[in-house]
Amino acid sequence: MHREALVIDGVSFHSRLFMGTGGAPSLYGLAEALIASGTELTTVAMRRHDSASAGSLFGLVSDLGVRVLPNTAGCFTAREAVLTAELARDALETDWIKLEVIADDQTLLPDALELLDAAEQLVSRGFVVFAYTNDDPALAVRLERLGVAAVMPLGAPIGTGLGILNPHNIALIVERSGVPVVLDAGIGTASDAALAMELGCDAVLLATAVTRAQDPPRMANAFRHAVIAGRLAAEAGRIPRRGRARASSAMDGRPDL
């Protein structure tokens, strides 16, 4: 099976499923799910050091050989996001940052103005920015012009599992983007991830759809296959939608009965 790798900042990914570490009740369960997902990139948040659980997540991810993408989750302003990114760079020794600047804690939707401000500052400071953004084609273009490495539109608000609420906008973002598009947030089940890939997204990022599933490793495996299937379908080219039926069996040679 021919599958072209996704390349971001010179790094090749053979799995187009990025899996976050959020929401898992135990590190052991998280490790099982990460392995089952086949992911090569995982997100972490930056939080106050707790000596009781010191370093275990950092150690776990390092041991699994999965690349780390720190995020700025919980930041409401560009100032907080830039400071968090700088701390993540110093702690985890990576220039990669998932930029997340939220407007409020009810919707967790990105704040477009703070997002653009933070993206501009981070790019100028040499960060490789993965911008978590709304399903807004105009905003995606703005982010790309600022020099982000990937745009990551949401399918639905974080943690809702509502799937892709506006497939048309996601397709439009993909169509006009010169940088990789990663569908991020809102994924509920495997078919949502397959749809994202069918719409032309380059990868899917999810966390709670796996970590809060009843059987996380099994769901991780389902997503692994869904992303592959969706990608193959996108490459294969689907048939056009038709309003009327079209027989697949020829009428020629039909017997008189």
């Binding site: 939080r47 000596s51 989750a73 701390l87």
Partner: protein, 79 residues
């Protein structure tokens, strides 16, 4: 005695201290002068003092002063 706020809580230091000494105390791990563990590995931690990053390479020569607010952060689970 130096009173600081460490990760949002009052914290008392017996005397003049550096960020490196504070990190070593909190983690229970001795540090090299470059802010790494003795085996050369990274601790996976970063420090902000009064809302400014103190890069790991400067932990050893950055003093902690009375009234400082220090945050020691590491990777936690998150999407």
């Amino acid at each position: 005695m130096i009173d600081i706020t460490l990760n949002g809580r009052p914290h008392c230091l017996p005397g003049a201290s550096t960020v490196a000494e504070l990190v070593a105390e909190v983690t229970g791990r001795p540090l090299r002068a470059d802010g790494r563990a003795m085996d050369g590995g990274g601790l996976g931690l970063a420090v902000a003092r009064n809302s400014e990053v103190v890069p790991r390479s400067r932990w050893v020569d950055t003093a902690v002063a009375n009234g400082d607010s220090v945050e020691i952060l590491g990777a936690a689970q998150g999407g």
